[in-house]
Amino acid sequence: MVSVTSSRLVRNREARRATLALERPGVAWAVPGLLFFAVFALAPMAGVVYLSLTSWDGLSAPQFTGLHNWSRFLSDGQMWQSTLVTAVLLVGNIAVQAPISILLGVWSAGHQRNRAVLSAIFFLPLLLSTAATAVMWRQLLDPNFGVPAELAGLLGSANLLGSQGGAVACLVLVTSWQFIPFHTLLYQGAARTVPETLYQAAAIDGAGRARQFFHITLPQLRNTIVTSTTFMLVGGLTTFDIVLLLTNGGPGTDTSILPFTMYQTAFRTYDYGYASVIASFLLLLATGASFVMVKLSGYDKMTSTLEGM
């Protein structure tokens, strides 16, 4: 680009900027969606935050108790244990799902025909609801009649759900099995937008497949990695169907992740005030983590990975 400073060019740039300002959408574009979202998602959440300051059993009127529930939460040992298990599962899930999803997504972005067929098959687990997947895996993991029975020699023991390590591994397995297809879809769409010219230039420079992957593909997938990891984070903090159906938080309370504990507090002990504290805490954690992720990666600057081309 040749930079020539002349008054004509400056005037053109200003005129251009003024013209461009016209074509930008204002906040009014977002209002209908915001209102809808506010009524059906934000308002209930505000209700939950309010409930965390009360004591309520769901039947009579809530009693305002101020920060009592919160101080109870902060001194509750069970809550810290739950947080720890949640973190362990989260890290496990991300560590397993991210690499596999990226590799699969990039692979299925290729245009070979067999890849299209196989990608469709790989997508199938997502079509099953979480409950259905958990029910299916519960059958498969039966120590006497399921897969562990046939692989007992390989695995050492068929009693997979009977220990904390085994239960955590099974939960990671089932969750990954179900959600890797979703993340693969994200990466597939993104990988397809990486311009072929980049790869061609690198090939001319003599870069091999691995180098191209690490130096071209991954950086171009930066935004998608942020999106995908945010989903995994959020998923780990809000979903617990698989835990409920496979281990019910057991053995003992070894896999009682925070969202599960929240559900139990609300719908088993009917202590909605306390459950609302856990829910608000989860919301804070998840939002905080996504904010941090977005900030660190510059995602909210809305820049394209293709800038400068």
Partner: protein
């Protein structure tokens, strides 16, 4: 493209095919066996007896009606989500500075709302609006909860559109609406498709909202209908899994068609 075949990729994908395929095989395998014999052999062996009675049982339980309800819920959810999330994403990506960034952050907040926690206030709101025991009681919250994801994905797709394209259209005197329809939507088709699939799946597989917001048989959706085969102390596993299979087929068809749109819509996404 690549001239040498990628052996590593080949082996890895074969391995993944096994991991995906074996449980799915077990699913189909159990669904085609009678309840009396399905435990005779392991879940991954060949069936000792094959029957399609389970599928008949499922249809007889009113499953087709449930599928129809679920399809309505999914279609309406996707429609609402797209109608609202596309303009929001557009505003977030192309709008003025800090206000629209605030909107984006607001939706990030919404990503993490735990459904089980808000179910009671939400139930009260739906009840007060008069939507209890109607499909709208399911559609509206599901759509609302799918919006953060959709905004995240669609804005991710929209930001890959090169600035020079906007400038070109602006210099032609185009207003934001025209730019949205003629430039942005066509170029972010893949992310819109992804968001649609996600919203559709949320609607298709949702259990909690249908459970709490409906009660009649006429508003039952597929996930509730599965419980026709689950009682307090036992379950008709083959029929249950047959129902699971049947509930997955329609959305599989949608995915297969959406994929074609995905592939077709990926021309020239980006600058020159």
């Amino acid at each position: 493209m690549r001239s040498r075949p990628n052996y590593l990729a080949g082996i890895a994908t074969f391995g993944w095919l096994l991991i995906i395929g074996v449980p799915l095989y077990a699913l189909v395998n159990t669904a085609v066996q009678p309840q009396t014999t399905y435990t005779d052999r392991g879940p991954v062996s060949l069936p000792s007896a094959v029957t399609f009675d389970n599928f008949v049982t499922v249809v007889r339980s009113g499953f087709v009606g449930y599928l129809w309800n679920t399809a309505l819920v999914a279609a309406a959810t996707v429609a609402i989500v797209l109608l609202l999330a596309v303009p929001i994403s557009y505003a977030v990506v192309r709008g003025h500075g800090w206000l629209t960034r605030g909107v984006f952050r607001l939706f990030l907040l919404g990503l993490a709302i735990p459904a089980q926690a808000v179910i009671i206030p939400l139930f009260l709101i739906i009840n007060r609006l008069g939507f209890y025991d109607s499909l709208w009681g399911i559609i509206l919250p599901t759509a609302a909860f799918s919006m953060p994801v959709s905004v995240l994905v669609i804005s991710g797709g929209m930001r890959n559109i090169s600035v020079s394209l906007y400038e070109a259209m602006a210099l032609d005197g185009a207003r934001p609406a025209r730019i949205l329809l003629d430039l942005v939507i066509p170029l972010s088709r893949s992310s819109i498709a992804t968001a649609s699939i996600f919203a559709a799946l949320q609607a298709w597989n949702g259990f909690l909202f249908p459970l709490i917001m409906t009660q009649s048989d006429s508003t039952k959706v597929v996930t509730l209908g599965l419980y026709n085969f689950v009682s307090e102390y036992g379950a008709n596993i083959p029929a249950l899994l047959a129902a699971v299979l049947m509930s997955a087929v329609p959305i599989l068809l949608v995915y297969l068609f959406a994929r074609r749109a995905l592939v077709a819509g990926l021309m020239g996404a980006g600058g020159k």
